[in-house]
Symmetry: C2
Subunit: 336 residues, 2 copies
């Protein structure tokens, strides 16, 4: 069969090209039965409208981009499921871009997206608050942006996060209540909003309990896992803490490995608590106490705000901060 | 500043539009210093070539699509990292599409991709071997397709998988060697290539050991986790198996939960072994014996085959099956 185009399809159906076009643009200005007849024939002939051409005309790709640091992380896979649940209702495609926490990759993606490949962007950012001009430029080109989880606070749009400071305060207080006197803190990517807020929560809990703040107990880990494991092992050996508050689930897993290797008993010698959405946390040895984020809900909320802007055909989004609180799930790793 | 276009950029630089265009197409037919000067000026003026327009002209999006059932699964997040490592070297974008194991979504995505939004597709499929015409149509339109992990064997292109049959045979034999007499099998999505191959491996091991095949020990689970947990609990209670071979990591996690609830001791009462790339498998209580797939390597191999085709500008890919074997990692959950 010859390749089919919109003209041939119109001929086959004895309709005008503009009527066919309306059916594919999902226009309201077309009879439902006619539309069904057109789509049926299109399926039969395996005709697909050219979205690149029509995107140029209508600037509508029916696609949103989700830019995230990684997916090998339970939080992001759940958040993406939440985003997809909203996008699915709106019949939009979701494209996922991975930055691997590389600010240069984020810049490259966002520059690339300036050309209308997508209608809107949900992003969990890779850098600190210093430079978010690339995202403001995107919005200036009419593409709305909503932040979730890791955000640039100074950018004028909606941010959806959990209550990082309060959850970390609650987590550290829990360790203190369980008898810990020397609490270490594991984190990485110190320029990120969430890293700073979680550290602040930890420090505030120490201050309130009149416990000393010791730099040597705060370990900035690396994107390289083996290197991080070395840093954690060294700190455990040298400082001998009795509690660990970890900002990221992977660091808690490394801490478990370090304890196993060094014969440190959890929770007897050391109590561990981490931000995590790991499903198997409850099955670990011992079961791991977690600050569990409402990841799915954070994704849903961020997507809802974005779609409201898309429906209004506006790239201007309220400069708001929506906070969905996390939950402390006590398990054996912090037992007295 | 007025919005900048290619003509204005050419004027600013006192160069021809076609020279500017060459710089952005990364053509070899342009002096390196000139190219650098153009890109520098473009950055300064925040000019970006319009990829939709140029895609229409050149049919080159410098983008590949990765279509996967889910990302809340360690295998896929590692495989995507492998794919991205190759795409990054080639300076291609990677777009991720999630089907949630829904064949209708797969059909929708693939139809959508027929229009040249991407240059090539890597897919881990959602359906059985019945109907893969949508993918053949994609290839007929000049867009090469490579399968990985979950494949349509009858489609004429390269498939990259692990040795599902042999690994499952090895896994079940391991359980038999550890003394299991009554081995259950957990799986889902029975029409998938990998589900069938893993089941065959299990059945072959029973046959070789002259052990009876019992339908009531083979549990087809559901996409709904609560439902799957119920099915597993019912089987454990009614059949009292002494071994479980699980095809999917999530089902083994559910089996651990069921054992905890029913007071079944692992490995004393029941030995468990699963396909899994879960990093925390070694930290579970007890540490979980796994068939670990070379997920990253599978992603890399599949991407390498695709990029070879893209470089030859051909959608025809050899009808080959590349097999990257899995490894049995013995841990306490299958100890004698």
């Amino acid at each position: 069969m010859d390749s089919i185009n919109i003209r041939k399809l119109a001929e086959e159906l004895n309709l005008s090209v503009s009527t066919i076009s309306k059916a594919f643009r999902n226009s309201y200005d077309i009879n439902a039965a006619t539309k069904e007849r057109i789509l049926e024939k299109a399926r039969e002939l395996n005709y697909q409208p050219n979205p690149l051409a029509s995107s140029l005309r209508t600037q509508k790709s029916r696609t949103i981009a989700v830019v995230v640091p990684e997916i090998a992380n339970t939080f992001f896979s759940l958040a993406i499921n939440g985003i997809e649940s909203v996008a699915g209702e709106k019949e939009f495609h979701v494209l996922i871009y991975l930055t691997h926490e590389d600010y240069a990759r984020e810049l490259g993606f966002i520059r690339h997206l300036q050309n209308g490949r997508v209608d809107g962007v949900l992003i969990s950012v890779s850098g600190g608050d210093a430079d978010y001009e690339h995202l403001d430029q995107l919005r200036a080109k009419g593409i709305p942006v909503v932040f979730f989880d890791r955000v640039y606070y100074n950018s004028n749009t909606t941010k959806v996060t959990t209550n990082n400071f309060e959850s970390s305060l609650m987590a550290t207080r829990h360790l203190i209540r369980q008898g810990c006197k020397k609490i270490a803190h594991l984190y990485h990517s110190s320029s990120l909003s969430i890293t700073k807020e979680r550290k602040e929560g930890y420090l505030e809990a120490l201050r309130q309990a009149k416990m000393p703040v010791r730099e040597e107990l705060m370990v900035e880990c690396d994107s390289d896992q083996a290197k991080s494991l070395q840093l954690i092992r060294k700190m455990l050996k040298k400082q001998g803490p009795d509690g660990v508050f970890s900002s990221f689930e992977k660091l808690a897993v490394l801490c478990y490995q370090a304890c196993a290797a060094q014969g440190i008993k959890i929770p007897g010698d050391l109590k561990i608590l981490t931000f995590s959405n790991l499903e198997s946390a409850a099955l670990m040895d011992p079961p791991l106490t977690t600050i569990t984020q409402p990841a799915y809900e954070i994704g849903r909320q961020a997507a809802s705000v974005l779609f409201k802007a898309l429906e209004k055909k506006s790239a201007v989004i309220a400069n708001e901060h929506i906070i969905v609180p996390s939950v402390l799930v006590e398990r054996k790793s912090t037992k007295k």
